[in-house]
């Protein structure tokens, strides 16, 4: 069919929206609240276009479907004026503190203002002062900056299925928050931080640990070590203008040294260790007949979600600590012994693609003698900010390697950061243990009747084991429900809270979207391919650790250090 946009005749097909047809033709229509397939509720009224003829009027471009002969104007003086007015109304109720805002230059509202030529608001008047929600170690909600686009509401409710963010009150007093304006620590929030990625402004951000890290680094009595999670190395470059997925591992190590960390270690090391322990757990469950499915436990958002919403599955969760926490435990025992330091003299900092990791580090199960194994957690974004603060010329650094001994890893550990990676890494080891042969790749197919869930069957000596891989809490919940209803049976499920896995984590650079997440994931597989060691059990330092310190896989000492328990939490 033919439609006319700004007088130009364009070919279109039924079901397309004006926004799509226009974009194809190189006509940009500004949007704010629109998130394709996620938030299509048309509330900001920025993308309004004029429908010519007939009833006429103004319609949001992403809603309006094309029909034969439709005539649209996207760029008349009045269309521009109406968009500007709506933007002015939003700005009138927004603190214009761009100078000091952490989203400055990466803010969609700021971008729109520039694009539409709005340099302030003529409608300034009353504003409602809201208290910040700083109740969790992971996230800060600043309702003062909220533009009520409800993208976070859709992501929290529909994509993640966590359902803690809603519109409270009404009209001018509308407040996007947990019900009755409770704080995040009073509700069943997983702290995954996906709301933060949905937010076009700085109404949701991480609870910043930068000052505390500086304090530790400046303390001469502290030996400060840092661990870097796999997914960080393929995303940190974005903060410096590098294409998503580009591996920056070695520059990252140098950069951390420049910041003053005494040792720069790799979370990959304990990812390999996790595979050893979790693989062992799977093997013993296979031997003992369950409980199945075994659920992975490396994603703290997922863990908290299960504790809130599916706590009948707590026995199914792997008792393995996450790589971050295994690292913390080892750094303050095994490594402390090597360096002849006391627990109190070591500060463990981690750099994670994740906001929930900040919470995980504070869990009571992760404490020893009243102190945390991991002291401070930075997100990818915070580390980038620290580098920028200190004037580290990141892109021009020469690379260096992680420190020994907690810096040696295999490719299996790198793919921990992407959905399906933990499963593949675990099966590489388990398969070889049981069959004596190498696993030739893991072929996952879309699970029937469960979109967003992939599954596979693996023949292991005389047993077929069924596994599933899922990312995004909404999808993960669907699998558990299907298992509960008896529609699906699995031995092992890998679940990650964030869509795409840790590469799409709440601590990753902004923007994080499907396309970018794919590129980062590919980056991790590229690192895996470039490594000669790709199976965790081949990691020589891991072998040494078991022999010299842990007294063998699955042994008591290993259990004490590397395993944990979970708790029921209210819905």
């Amino acid at each position: 069919m033919k439609v006319k946009i700004n007088g130009e005749e364009l070919e279109a097909t039924a079901g397309q929206t004006v926004l799509e047809v226009a974009k194809k033709a190189g006509i940009e229509i500004p949007t704010l609240c629109y998130l394709k397939d996620k938030n299509e509720i048309g509330v900001c009224r920025i993308c309004m276009v004029k429908v010519e003829g007939g009833g006429g009027g103004y319609e949001p471009a992403f809603v309006l479907q094309v029909s034969d002969g439709l005539e649209i104007e996207t760029n008349t003086p009045e269309v521009r004026e109406l968009r500007r007015l709506n933007l002015e109304l939003i700005l009138a109720n927004h603190p214009q503190d761009c100078l000091s805002c952490e989203r400055s230059l990466n803010c969609e509202l700021q971008g729109l203002s520039k694009e539409l030529g709005v340099d302030g608001s003529r409608f300034a008047g009353k504003r409602i002062e809201h208290q910040l929600d700083e109740s969790t170690p992971s996230l800060i909600r600043d309702p003062n900056k909220c533009v009520k686009c409800r993208r976070c509401v859709s992501v929290c409710n529909d994509s993640q299925g966590v359902k803690v963010l809603f519109p409270n009150n009404r009209g001018f007093e509308t407040l996007i928050a947990p019900f009755f304006n409770k704080d995040l620590d009073e509700v069943a929030c997983s702290l995954c931080g996906q709301c933060l990625h949905a937010c076009p402004v700085a109404a949701i951000k991480e609870n910043d640990a930068i000052d505390n890290v500086w304090e530790a680094l400046n303390d001469d009595n502290q030996h400060v070590v840092v661990q870097i999670a796999p997914a960080v190395r393929v995303s940190i470059g974005e903060e410096f203008g590098v294409e998503p997925g580009t591996p920056m591992t070695n520059k990252l190590v140098t950069a951390c040294r420049k910041l003053g960390f005494d040792k720069v270690f790799d979370t990959d090391f304990t990812a390999d260790l996790t595979i050893m322990e979790e693989g062992h757990e799977l093997l013993s469950r296979l031997k003992e007949g369950g409980p199945f499915p075994l659920l992975t436990s490396c994603s703290p958002g997922w863990i908290k979600y299960v504790e809130h919403f599916h706590n009948d599955f707590l026995p199914n969760l792997s008792s393995c600590k996450s790589p971050q926490q295994m690292f913390g435990a080892l750094a303050k025992s095994y490594y402390a012994d090597i360096e002849n330091l006391s627990r109190e003299e070591i500060t463990v900092v981690s750099v994670m693609p994740c906001t929930a990791k900040k919470f995980e580090a504070t869990r009571e199960e992760m404490m020893k003698d009243g102190s945390q194994d991991v002291d401070l957690v930075l997100t990818t974004r915070e580390l980038a900010r620290m580098l920028k603060m200190t004037g580290v010329d990141f892109l021009n650094l020469s690379g260096s390697d992680f420190d020994d001994p907690l810096g040696i890893s295999t490719g299996a550990a790198d793919i921990f950061g992407v959905t399906g990676g933990v499963m593949e890494a675990a099966l590489r080891t388990v398969y070889e243990k049981l069959t004596g042969e190498e696993l030739s790749g893991l072929r996952l197919t879309e699970a029937k009747g469960l979109t967003g869930v992939r599954e596979a069957k693996i023949e292991l000596s005389n047993q077929t084991i069924k596994v599933a891989v899922v990312s995004g809490l909404g999808n993960a919940s669907k699998v558990l429900e299907a298992v509960k209803r008896g529609e699906k049976e699995y031995h092992f499920i890998e679940a990650m809270a964030c869509p795409g896995g840790c590469v799409g984590g709440g601590g990753q650079p902004i923007p994080t979207n499907e396309e970018i997440v794919m590129k980062r994931g590919q980056g991790l597989y590229n690192i895996n391919n470039s490594k000669s060691l790709r199976k965790s059990h081949e990691n020589p330092v891991i072998q040494e650790l078991y022999e010299e310190y842990l007294e063998g896989v699955g042994n008591k000492k290993a259990h004490q250090l590397l395993h944990t328990t979970y708790q029921k939490r209210a819905k």
């Binding site: 509720i41 920025i46 809603v63 109304l89 939003i90 008047g125 009353k126 009404r170 009209g171 509308t174």
Partner: protein, 553 residues
């Protein structure tokens, strides 16, 4: 069935109830018993009889005598004098206007010759709590006709041919809505009666539900048959507790008699009706918000399409009509589309119930053919302006309607004529204001309402109403400049053109019309800092201070 020689209707509508109507009714029943009249005279508590200022009100039939301002101490006199001795109690007779003629039955032509009751045909005449009264006035006959003699398509054609348009405010052709719902595919279909009636100054739906609840039930069943729905929901404004209890009773009785429920009139057609109460949000009168509310979600409007006839309640095809629209249906079925389409004017057939309030002699509800002029209503039914003051402005259609000045008093009251002068028929609210009111103050009051009632979903309505109120407030305090008038227009423009739903789009209607018709008054506030009516207290105070300073200088 018991036979009574007389009936007394005691109004227990909202206002009469406040003035003690319920107590009057209790005493009346007691007194009748005392005099042994309880088997001869039946007392019926009824809803608003339309003359609220004279409450508590009662009508004695068969004489059709109205008594107004009846207090409990008057009751015995009425019983002894009127009912026992047959002498009217002159001092209590409710009088209309200045004329000497005592008021008799309110619905009779000699009160207000232009009144024509279709939707209010039974109100005040029947016991709303007794289905037999309704049946006695041809109740459920239309449902019988539809189910036994007409196909669903024929019913829809009748409604289309009648020209009936939605009485909720937008005036969408009812028959077309029915047709769309009929044609839509769905596992299930629903009929929803919009009885949220949140428009300030409107109480027509309440009167229908309280005074004649079966009309609504019958109409919904007919609609269900026509569109293929077997379930109906009545979404009632939460404050309408009397309506809720009467509807519940009516549903019970209708189910007992088999005019609701399974296999109605042996036609294999089933229809049940459920009641859902609103919780006081104005926006829930908007159809998509209303449907969300029934579903148990936050009552917020949704983007359209999809429209409810295709995807409504729980995603299923849903017919949603206003109570007044529905109340026309049984009459159309019985008297025919042709008969109905001759009432009113072209493109705007039938009658409209207006809720007249403000500075008129008689406030209340009046049903007149479409196209009756504003002047006819004010001077006829309304009895002219009260206290001998001059008419200044009328707001038609409720808070989201426009303001009509003196020069336009002869505007016919119908959808299209009112739209032409920048107002709306809306819910049929008619707020009449005299010269003592300040236009800025009036506009401010409306915007205060919208600031409070906006659901907060879309930008222009959430933010715009507040900013508009702020500007009007500044104008009323002498803190504004001429730029504010441009800004007001800009805001009105962005709201009316880009708000997500009718609430936001219509909110600035009164701003447009007051800026158009009363610009001088705005200018006086802004430039001369004068409010001639004295409503804007701060301007008056400023002037007084100025004068005082002038004296001392």
């Amino acid at each position: 069935m018991a036979f009574y020689r007389g009936h007394i209707l005691v109004c227990t509508g909202q206002e009469c109830k406040q003035k003690g109507g319920k107590e009057v009714e209790r005493i009346l029943v007691k007194e009748l018993k005392r005099f042994g009249l309880n088997d001869e005279i039946k007392v019926i508590s009824t809803d608003c009889l339309g003359a609220c200022e004279a409450g508590p009100l009662m009508v004695i039939y068969p004489e059709g005598v109205y008594y107004g301002g009846v207090q409990i101490e008057d009751v015995r006199e009425i019983v002894e004098e009127h009912l026992l001795k047959g002498r009217r109690v002159n001092r209590l007779l409710y009088e209309m206007d200045e004329s000497e003629e005592n008021v008799t039955a309110h619905h009779k032509k000699d009160i207000f010759s232009d009144e024509m009751r279709i939707v209010l045909r039974n109100c005040g005449l029947i016991d709303p709590e007794d289905i037999k009264d309704y049946i006695g006035r041809d109740g459920y006959r239309a449902l019988g006709i539809a189910l036994t003699r007409l196909t669903p398509k024929e019913v829809i054609t009748m409604i289309e041919d009648s020209g009936l348009r939605g009485r909720g405010g937008a005036g969408f052709p009812a028959g077309l809505k029915w047709k769309f719902t009929h044609q839509a595919d769905g596992d299930e279909k629903y009929v929803v009666a919009n009885a949220d009636e949140g428009e300030p100054g409107t109480s027509k739906d309440r009167l229908i539900m309280e005074g004649d609840p079966h009309t609504l039930l019958e109409s919904m069943a007919i609609a269900g048959y026509a569109v293929g729905a077997d379930t109906g929901y009545i979404y009632v404004r939460g404050e309408y507790q009397l309506a809720v209890s009467r509807l519940k009773k009516a549903i019970e009785q209708a189910e007992e008699l088999g005019v609701l429920g399974k296999n109605l009139f042996d036609s294999d057609f089933d229809f049940e009706i459920k009641i859902r109460e609103g919780a006081g949000a104005y926006v829930c009168g908007e159809e998509t918000a209303l449907l969300r509310s029934i579903e148990g979600e936050r009552g917020e409007p949704q983007i359209k399409p999809p429209y409810p006839p295709n995807e409504g309640l729980w995603g299923q095809p849903t017919l949603i009509n206003n109570v007044e629209t529905l109340a026309n249906i049984p009459v159309i079925i019985q008297k025919g589309a042709d008969w109905f389409s001759k009432i009113g004017i072209e493109n705007c057939t039938g009658t409209k119930v207006f809720t007249l309030s403000g500075d008129v002699m008689n406030e209340g509800l009046v049903e007149v053919p479409m196209g009756t002029t504003l002047r006819e209503i004010i001077e006829g039914f309304g009895g002219g302006m009260a206290d001998g003051r001059e008419f200044k402005v009328a707001q038609t259609g409720g808070t989201s309607g426009g303001c009509i000045p003196k020069e336009l008093l002869d505007t016919p009251m119908d959808y299209d004529s009112l739209a032409e002068v920048g107002s709306a028929l809306g819910s049929g609210a008619l707020l009449i204001m005299d010269e003592s009111h300040c236009i800025v103050d009036i506009a401010k009051c409306f915007m205060h309402f919208f600031e409070h009632e906006s659901c907060g979903k879309c930008t222009p309505c959430r933010e715009g109403n507040t900013r508009m109120y702020e500007m009007l407030d500044r104008i009323s305090k002498g803190e504004s400049n001429l730029k504010d008038l441009d800004k007001l227009r800009d805001l009105a423009n962005v709201m009316s053109k880009t708000a997500l739903c009718g609430l936001g789009q219509a909110a600035p209607t009164s701003i447009y019309s007051t800026l158009d018709y009363f610009k001088d008054e705005y200018l006086a506030h802004i430039t001369a800092k004068v409010c001639i009516t004295g409503d804007c207290q701060e301007l008056v105070t400023q002037r007084e201070e100025g004068e005082r300073k002038g004296e001392t200088a």
